[in-house]
Every structure is written in C-alpha cells, then in structure tokens.
C-alpha cells in the first residue's frame, strides 16, 4: 500500500468520510502548503493532551475546571443535563441559558451495551447532593434512547426537592404549518399545551 493509499484509508475512519471523500482529501493534502499540513498534524497529535473532560461537568475543556463551571456570573441554581460535550456548546450558543451543565456521556441503550453503569449518573447525583440546585433541565435528545435516559433520570431524582423539566419539542419556529411534515404536526397535536388564561 502506498503512503497515499494509507492516508486515504486512515481518513475513512473519520465519521462522515467515505472512500471517495477520503481520496479527495488525501490528494488535497499532497498539494497543500507544507506549513499548513505540519500545523494540522501537530494539532491532531496534541489535541488529546490539550483537551480533557472537565472533572466537574464532563464537557471538553483546556482548563480545570472548565470556563462554564468557573464562571461566577452563571446561575448556580439550574443544571442542564445533556448527552454529549457538543450539546453544551450548542445550548450555550443559544444564549437562552446561563446555568450550569452536566454531561452524561451518551444515552441509555442496552442494545449497544450502554447501561446506567456506563453513563455519568454517579457524579451527577453527588453534584445534586452537594450543590444547591432548584431545577434540573433534562436536555437529552428527542430519540427513544434520549427519552429513556430522561425517564430513568427522573426516576433517580424522585423525592428530591427539585423542579425537573424536559426540553419542549414540536413545530419549528417561524415555519408555516403548511410546510410542517405530517408526523411533526401529528406529534405536536398530541403534545399540545394548555393555553388558558
């Protein structure tokens, strides 16, 4: 196997990269500025040393604790529980949330061997015991696995003096009903909310 083929083969291991894209990327790298290739290679080699999970919330960080956990201006009475570190970035970027986060590291799926022991529930419960949260927002994905994880967490938190909430789901904002797909509309109808004064 030539070095070019080897590079392409390694690139196909990245998510979303098929053999054709990998080969295109490999050819692109051959023709790129050598300085760029060097920087890219160094960054890839050192990324795992530079970035690590925050020991408090589990999101990726280069400082201990992470900037969110360390920020004195954030609302320390609300905790948002998410599946993946990327979800922290997404929710923080919405600008609509200024509380703290906790990353579970996935969603429950016994089919894939992911039971409660594989997710970070233990540290979450410790945090809830020690810190003074009033509300826990469960922001797992609206998939079956995400729903299961949310319901399991609700079960774990039963009896604690906390408001537990789950992200709303339904129609996209700014869209006409006319363009909503039938299933989204049907689900939104089933999950309709009280609108009384």
């Amino acid at each position: 196997m030539t070095s070019l083929e080897q590079l392409a083969k390694q690139l196909t291991r990245l998510p979303g990269i098929g053999p054709k894209s990998a080969s295109r990327l490999a050819y692109h790298l051959i023709k790129s500025d050598p300085q760029y290739n060097k920087q890219l290679a160094e960054l890839i080699a050192s990324i795992q040393d530079l970035v690590f999970p925050c020991p408090i919330c589990g999101s990726f960080t280069e400082t201990d604790p992470c900037p969110v956990c360390a920020d004195p201006n954030r609302d320390r009475s609300v905790l948002c529980v998410v599946e993946q570190p990327q979800d922290v970035v997404t929710i923080a970027a919405s600008g609509a949330y200024d509380g703290l986060f906790h990353v579970l590291g996935g969603a429950l799926s016994p089919l894939e061997g992911i039971g409660p022991d594989k997710l970070d529930f233990a540290r979450l419960l410790q945090r809830i015991e020690k810190e003074s949260f009033h509300e826990v927002i469960i922001a797992t994905n609206p998939t079956e696995e995400g729903d299961t994880t949310a319901m399991y967490l609700r079960h774990l938190l039963k009896g604690k003096k906390l408001t537990i909430s789950r992200l709303a789901s339904g129609l996209p904002i700014g869209g006409d009903l006319e363009y909503a797909d039938r299933l989204t509309l049907a689900r939104s109808l089933r999950g309709r909310v009280d609108f009384a004064d």
Binding site: L108, P110, G113, G115, P116, T148, M151, Y152, H155, A186
Partner: protein, 361 residues
Amino acid sequence: MRFRSLGFHYFRNLADSMVPTDAEHVVLVGNNGQGKTNFLEALYVLCYGSSFRASNAKDMCRHGKREFSLSAIVALDDGTNQQILFRFGEGKREIRIDGKEIRDRRDLIYNVPCIVFSHDDIEFIRGTPESKRKFFDQTMSMYDPLFFDDLRRYRSVLRQRNAAIKDGYASLIPVYDVQLAKLGMAIQKRRAEEVVKFNELFVKLYQAVSQTDERMYIAYKPSWGDCTTEEEARDKLSRTLERDLRMQTTASGIHRDQFIVMQDTANFASSGSTGQMRLASLIFRIAQVHSYRKNTGKEPILLVDDVLLELDIRKRGLFLSLLEGYSQAFFTFLPEETYFSKVSGQDGLTYAVEDGTFQVP
C-alpha cells in the same frame, strides 16, 4: 399520480433500459422467469425503498454484479413531474427525490403509494400471526404516519427492553414498561378501530365476489385485551416480569396480538379451502385500496402480479369490477391467458416480456 417511465441498471435479469409506462393500465405478458415480477419489484422499491420479496438489497443485483440502480419519472397530481432514483452499491442504498437525498424511509413511503397483489398474500389468511399483523399494520401505516411512528418506536423500545432483560439491567425495565405501555395501548386502540372499519368492507366484498352469504370477518385478539389504560398495561408488564426474565424476552404486548380470520364461528385458516383463502387474500388487498382512498382521498398505484390466474372467469370479472379507485395499475399475465378488455382499452400499454426486455407486440 402515475409512473411515466421506469429505468434499470444492473437490476436482476432486466436489460439496462428505460421503459415508457405513461398509461392507466400497463400489461406485462410473458412466460415465467422472463422478468415480469422483477419489473413490479422495481416499481415497489422506488415507492418504499425495499422489496416485497427480497429481504436484502444485494439479492436484487444482476448475477455477478454488486450494484444496481433504478430510476423513474412520476407524474404528480398537481401536473408536475418528479424524478425518483434508487441506487445500491458498496452495501449501502441511496434514495433521491428530484436530486434531494432521502435519509429516513418515512419521508419516502408517503411519496408514491402503491399496493401489490401477489401470491404470497395468502399468508395474510393462513400464515403466522406475524404475517397477519403485518397486513393490518401496513394498511394503517399507509395513511397514518403517527401510527407508523408509534409502531417503529414500540419495536425499538421492545428491542431495548429485551436487551435489558438479557444483560441484567433490571433498573431500566420499569422505564421501558412505561414507554411500551404508552405506545402499545395507542397501537392497540388504533388496531381495534381499524378492524371494525375493515370488517364493514370485508364482509360485503367477500359476499359479492364469492356470491355466497358466508359471513367472513376478522376477530382481533389483543395480547393486552384485559387492559384498557396505560396504567393497566404497565401493571401487567410488571406483574409478568418474572416470566419475562425466565423466558429472556417480553412475552406480552402488541407484538403478540392476533388477527383471526373467522368464517361465522370457525377459524377460516383451518376451515377454508385454498381457493377460498386465495380469494379472501385478494379481497384483503381490495379492502386495503378502499381504506387508503377513504382515509387520504388519494388513489394508489396497483401492482397486480399473476393473481388472476387462479380465479375462474366469473370471479375474475367480479374481482376486476371491485378493483377501482386507483390512479394506475400494472398487471402481469402468462401468454396463454386471455386478459380482459379493461386493460387493453384506450389508455393501455402492453409489453411482451422476454429475457428481461420489453417489446410492444
């Protein structure tokens, strides 16, 4: 809605070609093994993304090939044309509508609805409980996306619950019970409603085609028949957990429901003759066509594969008179069969099928 043309590349024994199909009735005439059913299968794959007979897309590649593609131009009800493309290769399938990739099969199945009449339909009458559930689930899924989605979620939760049972994740089982009970009772309620509506049609259609006053109907026996609410279903699941743990699977739920075809008070699967069952299975499909049209106001495309052969001339006429309310129909015939004037009339196209090629005779 109508297929205007259908194209193949490396698909089964069909020669790489583009075949015009712009007619209300398209008739394929040929001996067995020439490619008639393959043609219908290609249409079905473009409608639903999977085959009605091959469980693996790989099996649809031409002998010695590892890829195939299908394409069609469909005239939509609003007068515009749509292009559907299905490509299989490197173990993956790709579906595009007007160039846009369809990632979830859900977005395909409501695009061009088709109903296939085939020999295997007799399994809906005499086959396993699973094949009967399949028929009714398909009938409802065709017009009710929420039912289809509930069913898909139920199956997914069921697989997780079974995995939790096998792997000893006992703390997760109550969570799965809540989800199964909720989805399952919604499905059970819809199935019960559908059977009532289906029986209204089926009883009359069977009497009309068989020209008897035999009362044939479907008896629905839900696995959770003693439950009327989600809470009761959940209680039932937790009461029977010990048995589930022993059997290493979820032994009750809507995946164990039964649809029994009854002839007055007898189970038709054991009392009926093969001819009667064949006829009943055709009427199942006719009822499916009626149900689809009644619930959506739209007319489906029919793929009628060799099923008329088994009916005598009189029943064939009655069957065809009840077969109405479709936008386009494809029929297959053997050369010696005398087919009927309805399809060779004004808006009809006939092809002689030989060794994977389609010629106008």
